[in-house]
């Protein structure tokens, strides 16, 4: 299967800091999650793929097109749904007007068809009863769902979602998971998140980034396995220097070397992630 997105030697720097430092990666159909600490370069990578940021160097192929050319960019944008990390709105627009405006920018010129599509995506994100509400009167989570709705307009082949679960209540997060996994059956979905549970529940592939490089690329189970034999539960407080916390039942869960009296515990995606990222911070 040919990948939807290919990245070769991607570089982007701001001032003297290299945010992306010769990145090589490819993405195909399905849901891929991007994990990484704040400032890792996730948003920078996603913006390059969503054609809103020009890289300094490197080759991109998105949906078989080259975003370095004007026609390539337009071609990509015709088949792209993009949720920015910090999506802004016009507060005086209603929910419906907001989506209608984006739908026009997505070249949906037929009014009826466009309005039907707006109604469809509103139902997808559970905002159908808010169509006539002004954006300034929405809660933060509703605004996030509105931002997601605009990305779904016109059934894009590639979805780039930068922290889609931020601010959602548990029920809405579940809804989002169901929606994204359904979309991932036939399309390419790239999402960045800080929620390791979302990755474990939703992504067939997970990529961990830090400092503009890739630290891990594999399955969520593979990421959890990074912590195999390095997670333990004990009754006594571990010594200084260990990464641990007290669980609800009063025991100590340690990531790293197993303290003397502790027993091995089942590692999670979060454990694997913390070990990976923690190691690079020690090295830095």
């Amino acid at each position: 299967m040919t990948p939807t997105v290919t990245v070769r030697g991607l570089r982007k720097r701001y001032g003297h800091t290299a945010v992306l430092d010769g990145l090589d990666i490819a993405f195909g159909a399905g849901v891929t999650g991007l994990l990484g600490p704040n400032g890792a370069g996730k948003t920078t990578l996603l913006r390059c793929l969503a054609t809103t940021l020009a890289p300094d160097a490197g080759e991109l192929r998105v949906l078989g097109l080259d975003p370095a050319t004007a026609s390539g960019r337009t071609g990509v944008r015709r088949r792209l749904g993009y949720l920015p990390q910090d999506p802004g709105f016009y507060p005086h627009f209603t929910v419906f007007e907001t989506l209608d405006y984006v739908a026009i920018l997505k070249e949906m010129t037929d009014r009826r068809e466009r309005h039907r599509e707006v109604t469809r995506v509103l139902a997808e994100v559970g905002l159908a009863d808010r169509a006539r509400t002004k954006v300034r009167k929405l809660s933060g989570g509703m605004r996030q769902r509105l931002a997601l709705a605009q990305a779904l307009l016109d059934e894009p082949d590639l979805l780039v979602l930068d922290e889609p679960t931020v601010g959602l209540d548990p029920e809405q997060r579940l809804r989002l998971r169901a929606l994204v996994s359904r979309l991932g059956e036939s399309r390419t979905v790239l999402l960045s998140t800080h929620q390791t549970e979302d990755v474990a529940a939703l992504c067939e592939r997970v990529v961990v980034m830090d400092g503009g490089r890739i630290l891990f690329d594999g399955t969520p189970a593979g990421l959890a396995a990074v912590a195999a034999g390095r997670v333990s539960l004990g009754d006594h407080r571990p010594g200084p220097g260990a990464l641990f916390w007290r669980t609800a039942d009063g025991r100590y869960r340690t990531i790293g070397d197993t303290p003397a009296d502790a027993v091995p515990a089942e590692p999670t995606v979060e454990d694997g992630y913390l070990l990976l990222v923690g190691r690079t911070q020690e090295a830095a």
Binding site: A54, R78, G88, F96, V102, I104, L105, H115, T119
Partner: protein
């Protein structure tokens, strides 16, 4: 009418089902359907059909009535989706339009008070659209810029739509102020701002293919004021920049700058490296 001998012909039924039938036709068909079991069986009352019908109704109910400007544009032959984009340009907020109106008010007052006061009006009018364009588009100005930057209308198409909206508003407001000018300025110089305004606007957009838009707007707006006052000071004739000879120059400049803008329009893309 009895229902026994007449039934809905297939062509009519088809138009009824795909929604292209006019309301009167729809009502007649439905009046007949209520009484005729045979025709009812021809109407697919499956869940999917009902769902799409409801969806369509819901979409129409939720869609807000278009504002007056949008309806006027649509009435003037502008396609609906473009009318929507034009009418919704953020810079066309009341604040910007109010600022333009106040500035024009001062210029009109100056024209009445001082002998050559109308020159202030002629100098000001071409600055207004460049300021409006800088306030209508860009990452720093538009909160939704990042979202729009990933749509096929990003860059030149959206910027040009918004610039058109700004230009039309500025021109309309200025034109409304013209009859308020002193009778002595009519009509030979009262419209002498029009071509300069088109020149600064096309110049601002053409320059924006090379430098950031706010900078281009300041350069053209400020440059225009500097040229007009400079020429007046050097030649001693402050009306010189508005004479017919100068107007020919502006006409040529508009044509040239529009060509430059057309050729370099791809450089207005947010993802174009500068």
């Amino acid at each position: 009418m009895t229902t026994g001998d007449w039934h809905i012909p297939p062509g009519l039924l088809e138009r009824y089902l795909d929604g292209s039938l006019d309301p009167v036709g729809v009502m007649s068909v439905e009046a007949h359907l209520v009484r005729c079991a045979r025709c009812r069986t021809a109407v697919p009352a499956d869940g999917g059909w009902l769902a799409t019908s409801w969806e369509r109704i819901a979409a129409e109910v939720a869609a807000p009535a278009p504002p007056l400007t949008e309806r006027l544009l649509h009435g003037a032959g502008v396609p609906g989706h473009l009318a929507r984009l034009l009418a919704a340009t953020p810079a066309l907020s009341r604040a910007w339009a109010a600022a333009v109106a106040v500035a024009l008010g001062f210029a009109v007052a100056a024209a009445h008070l001082a002998g050559h006061g109308f020159l202030a009006f002629l100098t000001l009018a071409p600055v207004l659209p460049t300021a409006g364009i800088a306030l209508a588009y860009g990452r720093r100005i538009d909160p939704a810029h990042e979202t729009y930057a990933a749509t096929p209308m990003a860059g030149a198409p959206l910027l040009l739509v918004r610039s058109t909206a700004v230009l039309l508003t500025a021109l309309a407001l200025t034109a409304l102020a013209v009859p308020l000018l002193p009778a002595a300025t009519m009509p030979s110089v009262a419209w002498a701002w029009l071509l300069p305004a088109l020149t600064t606007t096309s110049g601002c957009l053409a320059l924006a293919t090379r430098v950031p838009l706010p900078l281009a707007a300041v350069a053209l707006g400020g440059g225009w004021v500097a040229v007009v006052t400079g020429v007046g000071a050097v030649t001693g004739d402050r009306t010189l920049p508005f004479r017919p000879g100068a107007q020919v120059l502006y006409g040529c400049a508009v044509a040239l700058l529009t060509l430059v803008l057309y050729v370099r329009r791809h450089r207005l893309d947010p993802a174009e490296p500068r």
